[in-house]
């Protein structure tokens, strides 16, 4: 039965996340925007708070919610599960500060990868640890199949060589999930993910990048030089399966994580829109609903148009998360939600800076920060252009060799 309201059982969680956003993130938001590369130690305590929720299958964090515990019992049952609750929590927390959310201990994207494919032994060894994700290289960004980092088997060990960049939380995380090829001649089927413990000899944090936004989150360049890790740190199978199979498995993680990035964009955009609405209200401008679509003040109408865009993004995000919870294939919807929400997030936050005038541009307000933070959301986990390629290929029925 069609209904697009948030169910009652998920509301307390969203309220808690909202309380964290307002009471915990916002007060330290500017502090860690300025103190780039300082670890926000306030987050340790917060992580403990969220630890209290882990057993409740309601919120698994930014990435680790990827594996839903609650599955539909039969075809007719509809579930509002981990993907939706995680997205709702992320929206609220990102309304507080997406940079801080991204550096929450234990909430890394690597956790999503581990949750998706780890075996029992790996779950036990890596559970409860904070895992970052290392995919991008200087020569391979969107084209992640072109990575050149290698993993060579040597007895009971893998030997890693290569360089990874843009590793979110690369310095702070306990574990790094590294994409590497076990046979550079075998194409993308040979790309596997490996878990490297922080501090393993041969792994070196080369430097931290300075960024436009999400400065609270560290972004590392990591070099691997004959870095030896146990053989059983490979996630998934050692077999080089058919070209599509192994890689497709890795890509499937994105079906769960892209709606989460959409949720981040929705959260940041909402922060900007809410603040803009407050500032405009002080100036006597209010949005109006129910009357003509083509009258009213220019600013008031624009506020309503921005809200419509935000709600459009939010509903697409909820649709993608709902499909994931109900085991419906959602690659297209996941990409749609990310493409739309990230685009809107960027447009809305920038427009809010403009419309708020000097207040929007100055550091007394957080508006300018959100406009900087939001840009990354249209880049990581697949750029706007990559999302459009995925959607277009799928709906037009094209292979990647045809629609390039």
């Amino acid at each position: 039965m069609i209904d697009l309201e948030i169910p009652r059982k998920l509301r307390p969680l969203a309220e808690l996340a909202a309380a964290v956003a307002d009471g915990y993130f916002r007060p330290i938001s500017r502090k860690y925007d300025r103190a780039e590369h300082d670890y926000p130690k306030e987050l340790d305590m917060l992580q403990a708070a969220f630890g209290g929720l882990q057993g409740k299958e309601q919120m698994q964090g930014a990435g680790a919610g990827a594996s839903s515990k609650r599955e539909p019992r039969d075809e007719s049952e509809v579930v509002n599960g981990a993907n939706m609750s995680t997205c709702l929590g992320i929206t609220e927390l990102s309304r507080g500060d997406v940079g801080l959310l991204l550096t929450m201990p234990g909430q890394g994207l690597g956790n999503a990868a581990i949750a998706a494919v780890a075996d029992e032994d790996q779950r036990r060894r890596f559970g409860g640890k904070w895992a970052a994700m290392a995919i991008t290289e200087p020569g391979a960004g969107s084209d992640s199949a072109a990575i050149r980092t290698t993993a060579r088997r040597d007895g009971d060990e893998w030997v890693l060589n290569g360089e990874k960049i843009y590793v979110t939380c690369g310095q702070r995380a306990d574990l790094i999930v590294v994409w590497a090829s076990i046979d550079p001649g075998a194409g993308r089927a040979a790309i596997k993910s490996f878990v490297v413990e922080q501090g393993t000899p041969g792994m070196e944090i080369v430097r931290l990048d300075h960024k436009m936004g999400i400065r609270a989150s560290d972004t590392a360049v990591i070099a691997f030089t004959d870095c030896r890790i146990p053989r059983k740190n490979l996630l998934g199978s050692e077999e080089i399966a058919s070209a599509s199979k192994g890689f497709a498995g890795v890509m499937r993680t994105f079906d769960n994580t892209r709606p989460m990035v959409a949720a981040m964009a929705v959260g940041v955009a909402r922060a900007a829109l809410e603040r803009l609405a407050e500032l405009l209200a002080e100036a006597g401008v209010k949005p109006r609903y129910g009357g003509s679509l083509h009258s009213g003040s220019q600013l008031g109408s624009e506020l309503v148009r921005m809200e419509a865009e935000l709600e459009a993004s939010r509903l697409l995000m909820l649709e993608a998360a709902w499909m994931a919870d109900n085991r419906k294939p959602n690659s297209v919807q996941a990409s749609m939600s990310k493409a739309k929400a990230a685009r809107v997030g960027n447009e809305l936050t920038l427009r809010a800076v403009e419309l708020a005038g000097a207040a929007g541009y100055g550091e007394d307000e957080l508006l300018e920060k959100w406009a900087r933070d939001s840009k990354i959301l249209d880049i990581f986990e697949g750029t706007q252009q990559i999302q459009m390629l995925i959607i277009a290929r799928r709906i037009l029925g094209k292979r990647s060799s045809e629609l390039k």
Partner: protein
């Protein structure tokens, strides 16, 4: 919005963590454990508080979940009407557009299908199990997939039924539903829009004055579907300070009807309806026997749901049409869909159509649950008014010269989709 206890606690926690005191006193782990347990308890408590105080005055409906699955009967209706849209409306649409009226045999077929009955509950002679704005939206979407102009024509009498059922008194519901469900297709239409820039549908300038036992109506309505054939109209007019709805028979003295050629929706036979001192009886006022005056905002909100749903259906038609065209059309030795400039535009149509659909569905579902929906319907209308015309434009552009000639339906859809955001009233859900 959030629990003040948790909020206050978090502020304290923040100060405590930043101070480094926990670390200094060696109680960091202990502190973390406490915090962990406190939040675990807190969320249990909030869950329980959220659940417990049940308001017995409100009926406890089925368990509510976010869900995008139509019911079985909705699904059946939708697929049946979509077939009707594709096999009957699509081939007839061009002729109807030129003739500026829906073809008689299409109307007969709609009557045979029992289109208006679908919306009227059994107790008033219809076939609906219950009234459902969501079902209406799904049906409008299906018809819009065929052709938005014909869809508007076919839904016009049903929209009158909706207005009567929402705002009429018992006697009016019985009498008017019986009339609308008479033999064959009974043309009828809502006449709400007036020819003014920035027209607010809640504040019509058409006036109703008490006159003896009845009313006298004076004003001008435009873009009224099926104007040339409608047996009756539901007209909005200002009575005292309130917007009210009146049932006006076409034969009454002072009712003047003039066809009004428009850019699109020509199959809907849009007309100007002038009311020159038209005298109606006292039972012509919808809800005459009710104490509360008409909630005119609801008239506006549900009108937006219906128009939005039609537009969503039409946008999906554009999407499917350009997909096929761009895959078939060869240029420079390969399908034009192999170019990103083309393919990304198609992807954008898909994204925005889906977003519009979700906004319309949400407004409809809120109406169905009796939740406030004015803001939601407004946002849906704003988004549809922005993107539906864009999709019309992009559709033509993707076909290039073929988009501009009438051999393909896309130029007609371009003209139809411009109506979104202009056509306040005329339809209802």
């Amino acid at each position: 919005m959030s629990n003040p206890v948790i909020r206050g606690g978090l502020r304290l926690l923040n100060a405590f963590a930043a101070s480094g005191l926990a670390e200094e006193y060696g109680v960091e782990d202990r502190a973390k454990e406490l915090v962990s347990r406190a939040t675990s308890l807190g969320i249990d408590l909030m869950g329980r508080v959220g659940r417990r105080p049940r308001d017995d005055s409100k009926p406890q409906g089925p368990k509510r979940r976010f869900d995008l699955t139509p019911t079985e009967s909705q699904d059946l209706l939708r697929s049946t009407l979509r077939r009707f849209a594709l096999e009957v409306l699509r081939p007839e649409a061009e002729k109807a557009d030129v003739a500026m009226r829906p073809p008689a045999d299409v109307l007969d077929m709609a009557a045979d299908l029992g289109l208006t009955e679908l919306f009227v509950p059994e107790e008033y002679g219809g076939a609906a199990e219950e009234r459902s704005p969501v079902t209406t939206a799904l049906i409008a979407e299906a018809l819009g997939y065929g052709d938005m102009g014909l869809g508007a024509a076919l839904l016009a009498p049903a929209s009158v039924a909706h207005l009567v059922l929402d705002h009429g008194d018992e006697a009016q519901k019985e009498a008017l539903c019986a009339r609308l469900l008479g033999d064959g297709f009974v043309p009828a239409a809502a006449a709400l829009l007036e020819p003014r820039i920035g027209f607010d549908p809640r504040k019509p300038k058409t006036k109703a004055k008490r006159d003896g036992g009845g009313y006298r109506l004076q004003g001008e309505k435009v873009m009224v579907p099926l104007g040339e054939t409608a047996e009756l109209f539901v007209v909005s007019a200002q009575l005292g300070g309130d917007a009210r709805l009146f049932v006006v028979d076409r034969g009454l003295e002072g009712v003047e009807i003039t066809p009004q050629p428009t850019m699109g929706l020509r199959a809907a036979n849009l007309c100007k309806v002038e009311l020159r001192g038209v005298r109606v009886g006292k039972d012509a006022l919808l809800g005459a026997g009710l104490e509360a005056p008409t909630d005119h905002q609801r008239v506006v909100d549900l009108g937006r749901v219906a128009w939005g749903a039609l537009a969503v259906g039409q946008c999906e038609a554009v999407l499917d049409y350009v997909k096929e065209y761009c895959n078939d059309r060869i240029a420079f030795g390969e399908p034009i869909s192999h170019r990103q400039a083309v393919a990304f535009l198609v992807a954008d149509i898909a994204i925005e159509t889906e977003a519009m659909r979700l906004l319309v569905w949400r407004a409809a579902a809120r109406a169905e649950r009796g939740l406030p929906m004015t803001q939601h319907a407004h946002l849906a209308a704003v988004q549809c008014a922005r993107y539906a015309p864009k999709i019309g434009t992009d559709g033509v552009q993707l076909l290039g010269g073929a988009g501009f000639v009438r051999e393909h339906p896309v130029e007609r859809w371009y003209r139809h989709l411009r109506a979104m955001g202009i056509m306040e009233g005329g339809l209802s859900a």
